[in-house]
Amino acid sequence: MATDQFEPRIVGFLCRWCSYTGADLAGTSRIQYPPNMTPIRVMCSGRVDPTFVVQAFAEGADGVMIAGCHPGDCHYDVGNYRAMRRVPMLKNLLEQFGISPERLMLTWVSASEGRKFAADVVTFTETLRRLGPLNFAGETKATDELNLKETAPAV
């Protein structure tokens, strides 16, 4: 079905213990959700270095989702707490670089929550459709050449 609607590209970092299994469950349960996310399995949401997130945006992602175990359920005890503390700070940083904080989503998905995983992908995809394409590298490159010639008022 061809439509003109914008299809955002989402990079999803899914924890190996809960969220990736939850995504698997969504699949085996045949729950329908948008195919916009490229899942990357990581050992823990605490393993998601903020560098990975900015790299994803720099390489063309329209949104980044980090999904981990619910607080208290982390396989490594506190990894998801680290993710929870980093994300708000990273959102503030992204905002200074002109990237809407809404483009980064942190969510908790347990291994039994296939339905919640699908619902989160739906919500996030809709949010990104509303925000439109990011194209960070292309847009910033285009502004490099702006110089005084264009900004000076005509005499």
Partner: protein, 322 residues
Amino acid sequence: MAKPKVAFYWCASCGGCEEAVVDLAEDILKVVEAVDIVLWPVALDFKLKDVEAMADGEIAVSFINGAVRLSEQEEWVQLLRRKSGLVVAFGSCSHLGGIPGLANLTTIEEIMANKYDRAPTIDNPDGTRPLPRPVVDGYELELPTPWNTVKRLDEVIEVDYYLPGCAPPPELIMTAVQAILAGELPPKGSVISPEKTLCESCPLNESKPDELVITEFKRVATSQPKPDECYLAQGFVCMGPATRSGCGERCIHGNMPCRGCFGPPPGARDQGTKLLSAIASAGAAENKDEADLFAKGFVDPAGTLYRFSVPSSILKRTLKGK
């Protein structure tokens, strides 16, 4: 045998790197004895045409400080690249983008508007702005044009070595000069500095707790750090864990948390996100609201985490003003 020719040049910089060369004190005599300085705008009267008249590769080494943000600077560094055997990026600005690189968090238009219209000390009712080709007494002048994006030296020309620091400490400059004169050069592209992080050589490292916990952020503008305790443990943002050592811990000795001028250590691609990861993880927040509040206490994350390195960060500049 003729003495090797050496050039010093400055781009978008404050002059502190020139000062660093002067800070060699008596050692500068050894340098002058061993080399022939053919260009040094701050001290000697050589012109563009003098450099143009040289053969390609005639200059043994050019030390270039400052970020590149003007058309004129681009022309100069390209000329120096052609005429030089080696190019050394001298100081944080040419290595990482430096303080001028913070301009990448806004736009050239915003900077011009602040400078020529909005600043409280400006009285400019006609909205006069500098023009690239002003006409004065019937003569058309050509002025350099600033770019929207400030660049590191190695984004414009090939760079052989990096001498980090704001400004590079004299000992490090002498190490580099002696290595070049003796022909004992590290692999091309090396940053001439130890590969450890600042924390490893920090005099306060002993006082760093095994598990760092930051409950809230403090700022040097509003509170005084204790001089004998790890600044991170006190809640001050210190770039130490994500910054290369080799500076002589000058800031720490001055009771100032590390500001990150030496750039990231080897293996860390992005200095800011690495430190963000370290300090945010050390937070004590137990739920989303606490985490939001904790993050809010960190004022100006981009300007702090990338104080010297916006142009060498992964994102390089803001999308704002697009």
